[in-house]
Amino acid sequence: MNGEELTEQETALYDRQIRVWGADAQRRLSKSHILVYGMKGTVAEFCKNIVLAGVGSVTLVDDREVTEEALSANFLILPDENLYHGKTLAEVCCDSLKEFNPMVHVSVEKGDISTFGVEFFGKFDAVVISCCSLAKKKLINQKCRKLPKRVAFYTVDCRGTCGEIFVDLKDYKYSKKKLEETDECQLEFPSFEDTISVPWKALPKRVSKLYFAMRVIEQFEDAEGRNPGETSIADLPGVLKLRKELCETNSVNESQIPDALLERLLIGTSEYPPVCAIIGGILGQEVIKAISGKGDPLKNFFFFDAMDGKGLIEDISEPKPVS
C-alpha cells in the first residue's frame, strides 16, 4: 500500500486472520475509525469482533446508565456494581474493550448524537447505530451521505429472538476474488429513507415478514414518542391498528404481517445472547469487508429469526426501470 509494513507485533498477533484476508486488508483495518452508538448486547459482540480484528479506533456513544437489564446480554459489563456504578454504558464497555487489543484506540464520545454535525461523522470510515428511532436513523444516515468521502452506514437491532441489519455503502467500488483472477465490482446502495419508502406492493411476495413487522413497530414507536424498545404486549391493539393503516396505504394484505410476529417483537424487547453472537458476527464481517474493500457486501437488509433459524438477505430497493 503506502509501503507501510505491519509491525512485527501485528504480524504475530494477526497471523491467523492475515491468512484469511491478507496483509493489505489488515493494513487498511489498522487505519480505520469506527463510530458505534447504542451499547446493547449485539453491539457489544460487534465491537469485540472488530477490536480483535485490529481496527484503528472505535468510538463509543451511549450516555445511558448501566442497569441490571444490560447484564442479560452484554458480556462487556461484569455483574460487579463497584465496577459499573456511576458510569455510563459506553464507559464500562470502553474499559472492557480496551483489554481485548491494546493496539486499538477505544474511546467514549458523550452527548446527543442527533446534534453532532456532518464534520463529526466525517472522521469515521464506518458508523454503526443501534437503539435508534426512525427519525434518528434517517438523520444520521443523511449526515453520513452528505460527506464527499464514503462513510459506511449500518443499523442493527435485535428484539428477543429476531435480529435486523441494514447496510448503506452509497456508491461502492470493491474487488472480488474469482478463482485466480480479481474482479472489480460496483454497487449502488439506497439511503435508509429511500429504502423504507419503497412501496410495499412493489416488493416480491416472498420478502421476509420481519421486514414489514419491524417497520410497523418502528413507526409505532415514532408516532407514540417512545424510546426504541419501550413497548409491551399492552401496545398490541395500537400496533394492529397501525398495521391496518399501513397495509391499506400500501395495498397489501394484513396477513403479510402476522399477529404472532408483532407480539413477539413487542414483548421481546431484551436481547437473547446467542442471537447477539450471530448478528454481531455477521455485522463484524460486513464492516471488515467494507473497510478492506474486498468481497461481496450484504445488500441491503439481513433478517434472522431464531424461531425458525432462518437467515435472510433482502435487497429492498427501487426496482430498476426497464429501459
Binding site: W21, L52, P79, G268, Y272, P274, G295
Partner: protein
C-alpha cells in the same frame, strides 16, 4: 439465501402462561420466550466442553450469559491440554497478553466466572482420548446432560463422537475455517452421528514423489517436515530408548529382524559414533555435511541413475512432466541462504546434544570461517543404487536377505560406543513448534524446503507461507467463530428441553465472505432391520445375569442371528472356526475376557461390551449393535 421451511421450536409441551412471567432476573429475556421451567433445566445442566480455544471462549461467554450450569445442580467441565500463545489473542478474547504460557482452560474458566459468578465450572488440562479414560470415566460420562465440541481436529471429534454414541449423550459439534463455519447436531436416536459422514481423506503425495521427485513446494515442505522430525526428534528418541534399556532394545530389534529395524539401528549408530557431536564445531560439520548429502550428493546419484535422456521401460522419456530434472547445488559461504541453513541446522543439532551455542555464530565472517574448515569428502555416484519410482510404494526401506546378520553387527558396534559414553548420557529430542519465532524450527524447515526447491527449479517460499503449509495452520477469525457458537447455543435449548423431533433441529453452514447462510435438518441415523427388530448405531443390546458364551450365542440364535465371532476390544474371545474355542463356551463371558483378553475391569465397572459378528440363516452378514454383558 436459505433453504427449508420454517418450523416452530418453542418448548414441545404446552406451558402454563405463568411460566413466562419475568422473574426479575438477568435471564428474563429467555424466560419470556422459553419459560422458567426450561431456564431451570439450563441452569442445572451438566455440560462437558471439549476444548478451550477460539470456539471454547465464545461458548463460555454465551453459556455464562444464558445461565447454563449456573444453578445449584449445574456443572460445566471444560478441558484443553494447550497453553496460550500470542496468535491466539486475535480470537480467544478471554485471554490477555500476560496469560501467555498459562493453561487455556483455567484462564478461560476464570474469565467466564467473572461474567457470571454463579457458573459452576471446573477446568482440566487433559486431552480427551483413550489414554484419559481414567479421568473421563464411566461415571463422568453417565452424569452428563450434553457434550459440546470446541475442537480443532477431526481425530478428537471422532473420538468424542464414539464416546457420545456409547453413552448416548447429545453432541453439539461445530467448526470454522476462515469466514466459513458449520454446525452439526448429534442427538441420540434422532440423528446420525458425526462419524457417519466423513469428508474424503486429504490426498497425500506418494512417497517416491516426496522422496525423489518433488514438483511443487508442498512436496518440498512435506519432505522438510519429515526430515526435521527424523533428524531432531525421532532419532534422538531412538537413541535414548537404546541407552535406557540396551538389552531390551537389542532383543526387540533382533526379533523384528527387518529393514526398518536395520535403518533405526544405523541411525542410532550414526548419532553415537561417526556423527557424534561434542563441540559446536562438530555441529557445524554435521550441518555442512547434511547440506552436501541432501542438496548435492543425493541429486548427483539420482541423475546418475536416471540421466536426463533416460527412458522408461516403454521408451518414453523418464523425466517427463510432472517430474522435474534436478541440479545439484554448490555450497558457498557467500550465499546467505546456504549460511542460514547451516546456522539453523547446527544450532538445533547442538540442542539435541546439549551443547551450548557460542556467540560468534552471529558473526557472519567467523561463521564462514568455521564452515570453510569442514572437510567435505568427495562423492562419486555408484552403479546399482535402487531408487523407488513406484507411486504405490508405501515404504522406502529396501528389504534384503541378510538384514538379521547386519542387525547383529550393528548391535555389537553400538555396545562398543555405549561403553565410551559418559554415564547417564542422553540426547534431547526436539518437538516441532511452529509459533516460536526464536527457536530456529521454521528457519530450518524453510531452509530445507527452499534448498530442495532450488535443486528442482521450483519457486521458493517465504517463512510465512512455509509456516502455513508446514505448520498445517488453520486460518481463523473471530466473526465466524462467534456466529458458530451462537447457532449452536440456539440448539442447546432444544436439546435441554428434550422432547423435540429431528425436524426441529438445525444444522447450518455459513460463509460470511460471500455472504451465504444456509440451514438444514439433521439426517436421521441409518436403520438396520432383521425380522421384526430394527436398530441404529445408537442402540446397545443388554444381557444381564452374568451369561456364559454359550448363553450369549443362544440369546442371539433366538433372534435368528448366528454369532460366529465374539471380540472384546481388539482381542478375539471366540470364533466358531477354531475347535479349541469350544472349550470356552461354558465359561462366563467376563471370565473369558479376563483370562484371554487380559481385561482390566475396575471395581466400579459392572458390565463389559463385546462386538459380535453375526449371520442370518441365509449366511448374510448382519451388523448388530454392541452387546453389553452385565456381570455385576
Amino acid at each position: 439465501f436459505f433453504y427449508f421451511d420454517s418450523v416452530e421450536s418453542l418448548p414441545a409441551e404446552p406451558l402454563d402462561p405463568s411460566d413466562f412471567k419475568p422473574l426479575n432476573s438477568r435471564y428474563d429475556a429467555q424466560i419470556s420466550v422459553f419459560g422458567s421451567k426450561l431456564q431451570k433445566k439450563l441452569e442445572d445442566a451438566k455440560v462437558f466442553m471439549v476444548g478451550s480455544g477460539a470456539l471454547g471462549c465464545e461458548f463460555l461467554k454465551n453459556l455464562a450469559l444464558m445461565g447454563v450450569s449456573c444453578g445449584s445442580q449445574g456443572k460445566l467441565t471444560i478441558t484443553d491440554d494447550d497453553v496460550i500463545e500470542k496468535s491466539n489473542l486475535s480470537r480467544q478474547f478471554l485471554f490477555r497478553d500476560w496469560n501467555i504460557g498459562q493453561a487455556k482452560s483455567t484462564v478461560a474458566a476464570s474469565a467466564a466466572a467473572s461474567i457470571n459468578p454463579r457458573l459452576k465450572i471446573e477446568a482440566l488440562q487433559n486431552r480427551v482420548g483413550p489414554e484419559t479414560e481414567g479421568v473421563f470415566n464411566d461415571t463422568f460420562w453417565e452424569k452428563l446432560t450434553v457434550v459440546i465440541n470446541a475442537l480443532d481436529n477431526v481425530n478428537a471429534r471422532l473420538y468424542v463422537d464414539q464416546r457420545c454414541l456409547y453413552f448416548q449423550k447429545p453432541l453439539l459439534e461445530s467448526g470454522t475455517l476462515g469466514a466459513k463455519c458449520n454446525t452439526q447436531m448429534v442427538i441420540p436416536h434422532l440423528t446420525e452421528n458425526y462419524g457417519a459422514s466423513r469428508d474424503p481423506p486429504e490426498k497425500q503425495a506418494p512417497m517416491c514423489t516426496v522422496h525423489s521427485f518433488p514438483h511443487n513446494i508442498d512436496h518440498c515442505l512435506t519432505w522438510a517436515r519429515s526430515e526435521f522430525e527424523g533428524l531432531l526428534e525421532k532419532t534422538p528418541a531412538e537413541v535414548n530408548a537404546y541407552l535406557s534399556n540396551p538389552v531390551e532394545y537389542a532383543s526387540s530389534m533382533k526379533n523384528a529382524g527387518d529393514a526398518q529395524a536395520k535403518d533405526n539401528l544405523e541411525r542410532v549408530l550414526e548419532c553415537l559414533d561417526r556423527e557424534k557431536c561434542e563441540t559446536f564445531q562438530d555441529c557445524i560439520t554435521w550441518a555442512r555435511l547434511r547440506f552436501e548429502d541432501y542438496f548435492v550428493n543425493r541429486v548427483k546419484q539420482l541423475i546418475f541413475t536416471f540421466p536426463e535422456e533416460a527412458a522408461t521401460s516403454t521408451g518414453a522419456p523418464f523425466w517427463s512432466a510432472p517430474k522435474r530434472f534436478p541440479h545439484p547445488l554448490q555450497f558457498s559461504a557467500a550465499d546467505t541462504s546456504h549460511l542460514n541453513f547451516i546456522i539453523a541446522a547446527s544450532i538445533l543439532r547442538a540442542e539435541t546434544f546439549g551443547i551450548s551455542v557460542p556467540d560468534w555464530v552471529k558473526n557472519p565472517k567467523m561463521l564462514s570461517e568455521a564452515v570453510d574448515k569442514v572437510i567435505v569428502p568427495d562423492f562419486q555416484p555408484r552403479e546399482g543404487v535402487k531408487i523407488e519410482t513406484d507411486e504405490k510404494a508405501a515404504s522406502l526401506s529396501a528389504a534384503s536377505v541378510d538384514d538379521a546378520a547386519v542387525i547383529n553387527e550393528l548391535l555389537l558396534k553400538l555396545e562398543l560406543c555405549r561403553n565410551n559414553l559418559p554415564s547417564g548420557f542422553r540426547m534431547k529430542p526436539i518437538s516441532f513448534e511452529k509459533d516460536d519465532d526464536t527457536n530456529y524450527h521454521m528457519d530450518l524447515i524453510a531452509g530445507l524446503a527452499n534448498m530442495r526447491a532450488r535443486n528442482y527449479s521450483i519457486p521458493e517460499v517465504d517463512k510465512l507461507k512455509a509456516k502455513f503449509i508446514a505448520g498445517r495452520i488453520i486460518p481463523a477469525i473471530a466473526t465466524s467463530t462467534a456466529m458458530a457458537t451462537g447457532l449452536v447455543c440456539l440448539e442447546l435449548y432444544k436439546v435441554l428441553d428434550g422432547a423435540h423431533k429431528v425436524e426441529d433441529y438445525r444444522n447450518t453452514f455459513a460463509n460470511l465472505a460471500l455472504p451465504l447462510f444456509s440451514i438444514a435438518e439433521p439426517v436421521p441415523p441409518k436403520v438396520m432391520k432383521h425380522r421384526d427388530m430394527s436398530w441404529t448405531v445408537w442402540d446397545r443390546w443388554i444381557l444381564k445375569d452374568n451369561p456364559t458364551l454359550r448363553e450369549l450365542i443362544q440369546w442371539l440364535k433366538d433372534k435368528g442371528l448366528n454369532a460366529y465371532s465374539i471380540s472384546y476390544g481388539s482381542c478375539l474371545l471366540f470364533n466358531s472356526m477354531f475347535p479349541r474355542h469350544k472349550e470356552r463356551l461354558d465359561k462366563k463371558v467376563v471370565d473369558v475376557a479376563r483370562e484371554i483378553a487380559k481385561a482390566e475391569l475396575p471395581p466400579y465397572r459392572s458390565h463389559l461390551d463385546v462386538v459380535v459378528a453375526c449371520e442370518d440363516d441365509d449366511d448374510n452378514d448382519i451388523d448388530i449393535p454392541q452387546v453389553s454383558i452385565y456381570y455385576g
